[in-house]
């Protein structure tokens, strides 16, 4: 249990140092979960965890004691294999006890291998890539219909944007001017088989998103000062949907997992690797 496990109420303004401590704890849980489950996706969880930490602790209007709050900000983990990251941060934020994390991928647990709506705080099930942005668009349209001010954050993997569903929705969101829709691309440059550049060259993603009619910004997805700057940009009054490109490192924080596809979908191979990961993260 970390000292943040019981944080209730609406999101506060934590310092960068505090956020760093929280993300460190979340990284530890990610490693413990996949090692305990002997399966799972640590690489893409470690690349997105700093951004999730910022969103859930500093940015989003949410209340763990009232999960159905009508005006709550929504987050969709479209890259549903990063379930360890989302589950860890939801537990740390107080949506459910951190003790439940060790049930990840086990038969009697709600913590399905890929993100599952039955878990407290989860807005929609995901796992098959490319669908979350469309769901986010639907939620953003509903907010406008209901004159609600909530925002919808959608976390995309970079391999994920190879899916056609993404680009269909990029066009539609531009048509409907859903300025309350904020896509965050986890640009870690590695997908299951290989580097994204080798599997499917993506060209200038920033220019592509802009040409589809989105406001675009790039930032460092591991630097809380830069993350803060990106979401301040996203919060400005505007007409267009927002596409944030987070430059990240796959497996960030565990040297042997960084910048490789080997740990996209594999846990530490043995006790030695497990302990090395915890040590490098600085687990206590």
């Amino acid at each position: 249990m970390g000292e943040y496990s019981g944080v209730a109420g609406k999101t506060a303004d934590f310092s960068n140092d505090t956020l760093l401590k929280i993300s460190k704890k979340a990284r530890e849980y990610i490693i413990r979960m996949v090692y305990e489950a002997k399966s799972g996706h640590p690489g893409g969880s470690l690349s997105i965890i700093d951004i999730l930490t910022y969103l859930y602790f500093n940015e989003m209007n949410i209340d763990p004691t009232d999960q159905n709050l009508a005006d709550r900000d929504r987050l969709i983990m479209s890259k549903g294999h990063a379930s360890p990251a989302l589950y860890a941060i939801l537990a740390l934020r107080g949506f459910f006890p951190v003790e439940l994390l060790m049930g990840f991928r086990k038969i009697n647990s709600k913590l399905e291998g890929h993100v599952h709506r039955g878990v407290p705080g989860v807005e929609t099930s995901t796992g098959s890539l490319g669908q979350g942005l469309g769901i986010g668009l639907g939620m953003a349209l509903a907010a406008k219909l209901d004159s609600k001010s909530y925002r919808v954050f959608v976390i995309l993997g970079d391999g994920e944007i190879e899916e056609g569903n993404i680009w269909e929705t990029m066009m539609a969101a531009s048509k409907y001017k859903t300025s309350n829709l904020i896509a965050v691309l986890d640009r870690n440059r590695v997908q299951l088989d290989d580097l994204t550049e080798n599997v499917m060259p993506m060209g200038d993603i920033s220019a592509k998103a802009a040409s589809f009619g989105w406001d675009v910004m790039e930032f460092n997805g591991h630097d809380f000062r830069d993350i803060r700057r990106a979401f301040a940009f996203a919060s400005q009054k505007r007409e267009k949907p927002v596409f944030l490109i987070a430059n990240t490192v796959k497996g960030k924080g565990v040297s042997y997992m960084e910048n490789t596809s080997k740990y996209h979908g594999a846990p530490p191979a043995n006790q030695e690797e497990f302990e090395k990961a915890l040590k490098e993260i600085g687990a206590t």
Binding site: A140, L141, A142, E168
Partner: protein, 318 residues
């Protein structure tokens, strides 16, 4: 029997229900003039989303709207919806949310547009999805009652298969759709024809002709393909001993398969299936295509006679 357009009725009902149910939203993929959702779009433009020729985006956006408390009606041609099978599976059915897929232009009654547009495997695909319910209405009366039911009583995924063609009105004006219940349109003692959609009118005509040959055929509308009225099917398997199924769909994974599953588990009798036999359709007038693919009234009559006379072959009637 007077014929009326099911999709026209769908459009009218959307407008009428949209008036009193502000939670209704409608999505289409550049076919709103054909599916008739355009009528809703004209009346309630702020709740109508023409997503362009982007079915994946349409289905996922519908899921997001439903997850935010809306009741989403999604329409396009049946054949194009199936390209989003996986979005339907994960984003709608797994979440078990209030999205209604109401499709038009399935089967060979699409006619001249030909095989690319004539989907004959869609109900099989949809019936396989957990949480999905599948309805194939027979006429405008049924569409009207079904729409009231879907809006007032349900919050889960449905697949509703309408048609391009007008269908004869076969139900009584006071008919009420009940999920999981078959409608006995004509009772009979010798043979039962289980049918739905366009084949209901054909089956009623065929039953008249069978009567001339002293074969008393029951005609039963199985609009609720999932859930299925097992009790009614077993009852008629027992009372008539001979079953014919007729559907504007592949005989694989369609109505015929579903009926055969029930009787083979509960009370085995012979089942003769009329439908598309593992083949694509083709261009032509729809009445020409029914004959071409051996799904016309005469084909039902012939199959009925054969099925009834070959009693000894099966020896299944106790």
């Amino acid at each position: 029997m007077v014929s009326e357009s099911l999709r026209e009725k769908y459009g009218e009902k959307l407008v009428a229900l949209g008036e009193s149910h502000k939670e209704i939203v409608v999505l289409d993929a550049d076919l709103s003039s054909s599916t008739r959702t355009g009528m809703f779009g004209k009346k309630f433009p702020e709740r109508f989303f023409n997503m362009g020729i982007s079915e994946q985006s349409m289905v996922t956006a519908a899921a997001g709207l439903a997850l935010s408390g809306k009741k989403a009606f999604v329409s396009t041609f049946a054949v194009f919806l199936t390209r989003t099978y996986e979005q339907i599976r994960q984003s709608v059915c797994y979440n078990n949310i209030d999205v209604k897929f109401v499709v038009t232009h399935p089967g060979i009654t699409v006619g001249e547009d030909g095989a690319t547009h004539q989907i004959i495997e869609d109900t099989g695909i949809m019936c396989g999805l957990p949480n999905m319910k599948v309805i194939v209405p027979a006429d405008t009366v049924e569409v009207s009652s079904l729409m009231d039911y879907l809006v007032d009583k349900t919050r889960t995924p449905y697949y509703v298969r309408l048609s391009r063609e007008k269908f004869p009105v076969v139900n009584q004006p006071d008919y009420t759709f009940i999920e999981g219940k078959n409608t006995v349109l004509r009772d009979g003692a010798d043979l039962t024809i289980f049918c739905n959609g366009s084949m209901v009118g054909h089956a009623l005509n065929a039953a008249e002709e069978l009567k001339q040959q002293a074969i008393d055929a029951a005609v039963i509308n199985v609009s609720s393909m999932k859930p299925l009225d097992r009790e009614n099917i077993i009852k008629y398997a027992k009372s008539t001993g001979h079953i014919l199924t007729a559907e504007e769909h592949s005989i694989y994974n369609g109505l015929g398969s579903r009926v055969a599953e029930v009787v083979s588990e509960e009370y085995p009798v012979s089942v003769v299936r009329i439908g598309m036999r593992d083949t694509f359709g083709k261009s032509g007038k729809s009445w020409e295509l029914f004959d071409y693919f051996h799904m016309g009234i005469k084909d039902i009559v012939d199959a009925g006679v054969k099925c009834f006379l070959e009693e000894d072959k099966y020896e299944t009637v106790s």
